[in-house]
């Protein structure tokens, strides 16, 4: 699944990022394989998405989120 499928409050582990579609800036802010990601809040129509990635809080658009693969963690 991709980051765009995450529900509000859910967590996941990033498994892969498509480096062609993802700005380097996002990687530098901690969006790297192995890091924990949580969907904190979504704007109407689930776009943009407010995330907590590895302790960094940031918002990205859905068009970016679909290029980030994740695995959900069982809570």
């Amino acid at each position: 699944m991709t980051l765009a499928d995450l529900k509000r409050g859910q967590q996941g582990i990033i498994t892969d990022v498509s480096s062609i579609h993802i700005p380097l800036k996002l990687l530098e802010m901690g969006c790297l394989p192995g890091n924990l990601v949580e969907l904190v809040q979504v704007a109407p129509f689930a776009d943009p998405m407010y995330l907590n990635i590895n302790g960094s809080h940031l918002a990205i658009r859905k068009e970016t989120a679909i290029h980030i693969l994740i695995e959900t963690t069982n809570e």
């Binding site: 480096s19 996002l26 990687l27 530098e28 809040q41 109407p44 809080h57 918002a59 990205i60 658009r61």
Partner: protein, 700 residues
């Protein structure tokens, strides 16, 4: 003269870098632009112990040395160019104790450039609150640096930082990790080809495609036996490099930092639950906008009225005190009124930036961007364009200055270009008097007055024109820079008074000394054109008018008004009004309205005052002017000049035309070129003309 130490402040956005800058320099700072571009350059002087002085430059906030915007480019260009006069003797990397991991990424990159570096860990007052403790000694050893633990909020640690800067020569300039292991053979080749260059510098030049000195990407790749890499490969390597850096940082922080989650408190979650809520979030933002609007529209009218009357009496006093003559007139009516026309904007600018800097400082602005992004994106605007567009309803000048915090140049430019369409408060007097003249007093469905409805429609038309033209501009403007949307959602903080105050002062100064010069020049020119004219008709106005009305037994006041009216008609501006009459007749206007349109270029509200002079009413009372206007007869068609058709046409003309020299001046300043304000002037005015023409021809 002792040599100054060049200090560069570098750091992620939202780390309180500007607070550190303010704490070090206080009021000894100046803000300018980097040559040729619109990125702000902040520099200041800091007095260090033992009489040493430091020249401090506050570089734009950046997350890494891999630049993705013009602002970030400034950072890397300075750090790569040893010959730049601002090249730092010491780099001070400012980090936020709560985001140390991410902040250290930039730190490790700066270290790789082998510049002596100090690490500032700011917001140390939050450590207990967040359950964070640090092993400073260990971190200093691992990171190969000196650390200043400071709190700009509590004013702690600044002295220690100054000491560290003074002794910058003792700092290590060795890197803290070896990033070249990500592709050993590639970097070995690079080293062989350029033995005298810093490896990381070369790497930055290759990946950024910038040039410093005589080295750029092409000269590196032109070297024989040197294998070039595709862009995709380079990007993969950059990703590897980032992972490598994070590995090092994670290991260092594992030992150097402990976070006790049990004692950590989080205000963010609670606040965000409300402030970014699908319903409450928008409601709260609406209330905040209303408050801003109220402040610039209503509260600032008190100081504005005061400024207005003060300059009027100063002008009056000058005229009465100094000997009569051309110079006194220039001083009293040209220069002093022109200065008044600049100072009058200060309350609105100060209020708007008071609010904006509070919103920025508190971290709330990022939530606005989050809430509004999807709606604004459709029109090629940013979530941050909302505040400028709404403040444009008070005045376009502070609104255009407020676009500075939109990172993407394309989004910022579009916002600047379309903001003047929103209905600013200077249009209001024009709207009110024309609506009162041509719109019937009845009520729609029995309770909404037609006049109020018209006014509301005019506001909607203005906003619609802004958004619609943004949509078109977004489609036709081609910008190479691809913008990604990544917005940091910083922690909520109480704004620091010092930062807010300095922002307000700095923005006001930027307006007065930047756009102010242009405004003063144009208003003196306009004054000259309205006060002088060629030939006898102007110069002998008094005798002509006195003779003409000799039989009518006018009072002295009435005669004086007739003379003023006659003078204005035959002044240069009056001649211009006559000259454009053929062009504006199809819109339903006569030459008198023509004069009012030309002179209202100084400020739209001048329209009413100019008509009062032409009609020689001699009173600014709206009722009097209105009655006089109602009696005007169309010289060609007969019937009232201000009828429904010409009234609507005039309203639409004022809704769309770019009739404000102050706005043009500020656009020139903000875009650093006359090209954009000229586009605005020509396109908006042409559009206004066509719409007014069509409306009049249909309605007549």
């Amino acid at each position: 003269m002792s040599k100054q130490i060049n200090v560069a402040l570098i750091g992620n956005p939202n780390t309180g870098k500007t607070s550190v800058f303010n704490a070090l320099t206080g009021l000894n700072q100046k803000v300018g632009n980097y040559p040729g571009i619109t990125v702000e350059k902040k520099e200041g002087i800091c007095k260090l112990p033992r009489g040493v002085k430091a020249h401090i430059i506050d570089l734009p906030g950046t997350y890494s040395l891999n630049a993705s915007s013009l602002d970030e480019n400034v950072v890397i260009e300075l750090l790569l160019n040893k010959n730049d006069k601002d090249y730092p003797d010491v780099a001070v990397v400012v980090s936020d104790v709560e985001n140390l991991k991410r902040n250290l990424l930039l730190f490790t990159q700066i270290k790789d450039l082998q510049i002596p570096t100090i690490l500032v860990i700011n917001m140390s007052d939050r450590m207990a609150y967040k359950g964070i403790s640090l092993d400073i000694e260990y971190l200093e050893k691992e990171l190969n640096t000196k650390i200043a633990l400071i709190s700009t909020r509590k004013n702690k640690g600044i002295q220690e930082l100054k000491e560290l800067i003074t002794h910058y020569k003792e700092l290590s300039s060795e890197p803290c990790l070896n990033a070249s292991t990500i592709d050993k053979s590639y970097f070995d080749n690079l080293r062989k080809a350029f033995p005298n260059q810093l490896l990381y510098k070369l790497w930055l030049v290759i990946t950024q495609d910038v040039n410093f000195g005589k080295t750029d990407r092409k000269t590196i790749e032109a070297v024989e036996d040197f294998k070039t890499k595709s862009n995709a490969d380079l990007k993969r390597l950059q990703q590897k490099e980032t992972i490598k850096r994070y590995q090092f940082i994670n290991e260092t922080l594992k030992k150097g930092q402990t976070i006790d989650l049990n004692s950590a408190k989080d205000l963010r979650i609670k606040l965000d639950r409300i402030l970014t809520h699908k319903v409450w979030g928008y409601l709260i933002f609406g209330v905040i906008l209303l408050l801003i609007f109220q402040a610039i529209y209503d509260w600032s009218s008190v100081p504005m009225d005061f400024i207005d009357s003060s300059f009027a009496s100063l002008s009056e006093w000058t005229k009465n005190t100094l000997p009569e003559g051309a110079f006194t007139n220039l001083l009293a009516e040209g220069i002093i009124s022109g200065l008044g026309g600049i100072v009058i904007f200060i309350p609105q600018i100060a209020f708007l930036f008071l609010f904006i800097s509070i919103l920025e400082e508190s971290g709330y602005m990022s939530r606005v961007v989050f809430l509004m992004d999807r709606i604004m994106r459709r029109f090629g605007l940013s979530g941050k364009s909302v505040v400028p567009l709404i403040s444009g309803t008070a005045c376009a000048i502070p609104a255009i200055m407020a676009t500075r915090n939109i990172e993407s140049w394309k989004e910022r430019l579009i916002t600047i270009l379309v903001t003047p369409f929103t209905t600013c408060s200077a249009r209001l007097p024009v709207y009110l008097i024309i609506i009162a003249l041509v719109i019937p007093e009845g009520r729609f469905l029995g309770f909404i007055s037609y006049q109020a409805l018209t006014l509301m429609l005019l506001y909607l038309i203005g906003f619609g024109a802004a958004v619609g033209s943004a949509w078109i501009l977004n489609k036709i403007m081609n910008f190479k820079s691809k913008s990604f949307f990544v917005v940091e959602m910083p922690n909520y903080k109480l704004p620091l008074f010092k930062n807010v105050a300095l922002t307000v002062i700095e923005k006001t100064k930027a307006f007065v000394f930047g756009a102010g010069k242009i405004i003063l020049a144009i208003s003196i020119i306009l004054w000259f054109l309205a006060s002088y004219g060629p030939g006898d008709n102007f110069n002998k106005a008094e005798s002509i008018v006195t003779e003409k009305f000799a039989s009518e037994n006018l009072s002295e006041d009435e005669l004086h008004q007739k003379i003023e009216s006659h003078k204005l008609e035959h002044s240069f501006i009056g001649i211009a009004g006559h000259a454009i009459e053929p062009a504006i007749r199809p819109l339903g206007y006569d030459w008198k309205i023509g004069i009012a349109i030309v002179s209202s270029f100084a400020a739209r509200e001048v329209f009413v005052g100019t008509l009062a002079t032409i009609y020689s009413v001699g009173s600014d009372e709206e009722e009097t002017i209105k009655n006089r206007m109602a009696g005007e007869v169309n010289p060609i068609l007969g019937g009232p000049l201000f009828n429904f058709a010409s009234g609507i046409s005039l309203l639409l003309f004022y809704a769309f035309a770019m009739q404000c020299m102050s706005t043009l001046a500020i656009v020139k300043k903000e875009t650093n070129s006359w090209k954009w304000p000229m586009y605005q002037l020509v396109i908006m005015s042409a559009f206004a003309y066509i719409v007014a023409l069509v409306a009049y021809q249909i309605l007549i």
